[in-house]
Symmetry: C2
Subunit: 350 residues, 2 copies
């Protein structure tokens, strides 16, 4: 049984309280937790309906996009966001990358016994706020509790559904030689913001996560009339992982112009200090877009006019040569291969 | 970025291997894990398409049902199932309880560093097998890795989408005085199967979880032409929690006839030994159904003809008296209140 956010017995749960095993047991305490922490914040639009094991949504025109991500970021709160904000943006963005207008999200919480109810409330409010910004409803959810030492405060899973308008066809399969590669802003902020907190670096203030929903930006690009071939948000593994995946999956080569890839000064400084490469650092509010070269300027213009794009740039070209391989050219024209890392620069970044 | 189960670089991952932090990093090792453990088992039907941040589904007639559950059951393997089987059945059943035909599932894995790849494979195969039985596709997923001691082997979230045929309207709001209450089989097996393993009880052999998908049983009840008012699967908190929720949410009273509630001998014996009540024990393959009294026999007959119902029975009636309260009548006609427990009899049952 899924826990719908619809309950009839409001009982205030003190902010000094902590999560107990019994909050996951399906009894009165679980109902109180759901009512007091989740129900009062989520799903206001459908509050008149009684609870149900599944949310029921009107179907819309077009195909259905469906995606999921779990979030295990550490620390839970970081400059520019928290795990709740991340859980909404990340899944909204996955829907947007398929060209879908996000409709509804689910939220599944795995709570560790002893976790602070006050922190949980902050996270849940942050999710509700971000959902409002992104124009998406949180309509169904679930709460589980695990013993102390078998979790880490809170893990969140969000799944999402959205609708792809007829005529929109965005997929790695459409990437073709000649396509221009654009990014929506400067890279590496999320990864370096998390790492700067973990490492206790000084420039914390200037280094905030780029965490943001991108669905409206995608809608603006589509409204500009461009035939967008493919979109990809630049999360775990950063730009490097994203373009390598597309090169492999579309069977094309990609050439990137190193000098045109935007990296902000504090990110570059943090990377230098820690010996990291910003092209592998995670973003949570940046995308790459693949479009026919002849409409690249129009798409760039549409991005420049949208607040979710922060210094968008054309950074490269899709080529028929070296399929599956991404080449990075420096300002003197010399190239090197931008490969996958085997593992990661930073664990638990999202 | 969500991890689609579509990758091009098959690399065998040894069964003696264990999960490393790098398997969650977005790099080559994560691609190998996904290819070798997930991709080879899930989503065969759409294997020709390249990976994408979201799965794209054809929309069908009717309204969309959308649900989620996380699974943290301990132990991961138990008589009659495992966490993977549970994760498929539980979410399929939540869709079925809304009267939906399940269409597709997502699967999000939170792996603990050091978890056995061989165990993960068993769980993934179990999910694929159960999805085939339930007639549902696993189309999108995600993998995260947390440090040793910050998880517990594996947690799984599944979300699901399904379609509610026009004319089907199943909701707690429709439960009304006079409705008959039926259950699809004997109660308490899942909870007592888990507990018997944890407690090392002798009768393990005879006590298997009832874990099973119920969507086809629901379809059979609807096909019998009955106006089903409400369905509820009897998971955490068992029959008692489910009927109490419906009594509260529908604003009705419920009277149950204790002698007619089916409980199998080994479940009753285990409960007696451990001082537990089978009416509060979790089930993962049983439902309660609320129907107008005049069609109760027809629905009971439809259940009796279906293999997913195991000794279905009519167990009670919805009344206008004592709204929000469930009364249990013994064979002599004396009643007592069947209340919510405050917490749970058994933690981490699903």
């Amino acid at each position: 049984m899924s826990d719908a956010f619809h309950l009839n017995c409001p009982v205030p749960l003190n902010d000094h309280a902590t999560v107990q095993m019994a909050h996951g047991g399906g009894g009165r305490l679980m109902r109180e937790l759901i009512e007091s922490v989740f129900r009062s914040v989520f799903d206001r639009t459908e509050a008149a309906e009684p609870p149900h094991d599944a949310a029921v949504l009107s179907s819309r025109e077009g195909r259905l996009a469906f995606t999921t991500d779990s979030y295990v970021v550490h620390p839970l709160f970081f400059p520019g966001g928290d795990i709740g904000r991340l859980a909404v943006c990340g899944t909204v963005n996955d829907l947007a990358m398929a060209g879908a207008r996000p409709d509804a999200l689910s939220a599944g919480f795995i709570l560790e016994e002893g976790f602070s109810i006050e922190s949980l409330r902050r996270i849940v409010r942050s999710m509700a706020d971000e959902a409002r910004v992104a124009g998406v409803r949180i309509v169904t959810g679930d709460t589980k509790v695990v013993d102390r030492g078998k979790g880490d405060g809170v893990f969140i899973n969000t799944a999402g559904v959205g609708w792809i308008a007829p005529g929109v066809d965005i997929s790695p399969a459409r990437v073709a030689p000649g396509d221009a590669v654009l990014v929506s802003g400067d890279l590496g902020r999320h990864g370096m913001a998390i790492l700067s907190v973990r490492e206790g670096l000084e420039f914390e203030g200037a280094l905030e996560s780029d965490c943001a929903p991108l669905a409206d930006l995608v809608a603006a690009m589509l409204a500009a009339g461009a035939d967008v071939h493919c979109l990809r948000d630049l999360t775990r593994g950063g730009l490097a992982a994203a373009v390598n995946e597309i090169a492999l999956d579309a069977g094309v080569g990609i050439e990137l112009d190193e000098a045109s890839i935007p990296v902000a000064e504090p990110v570059a400084a943090a990377c230098e200090l820690l010996g990291l490469d910003p092209l592998y650092a995670a973003n949570e509010g940046r995308l790459a877009v693949f479009v026919p070269a002849e409409v690249a300027d129009r798409v760039l213009q549409a991005m420049q006019n949208h607040p979710a794009a922060v210094g968008p740039a054309r950074i490269g070209t899709v080529v028929a040569a070296h399929p599956g391989v991404v080449e990075l050219k420096n300002r003197f024209g010399a190239g090197r291969i931008l490969d996958f890392l085997s593992g990661e620069q930073m664990p638990r970044i999202c």
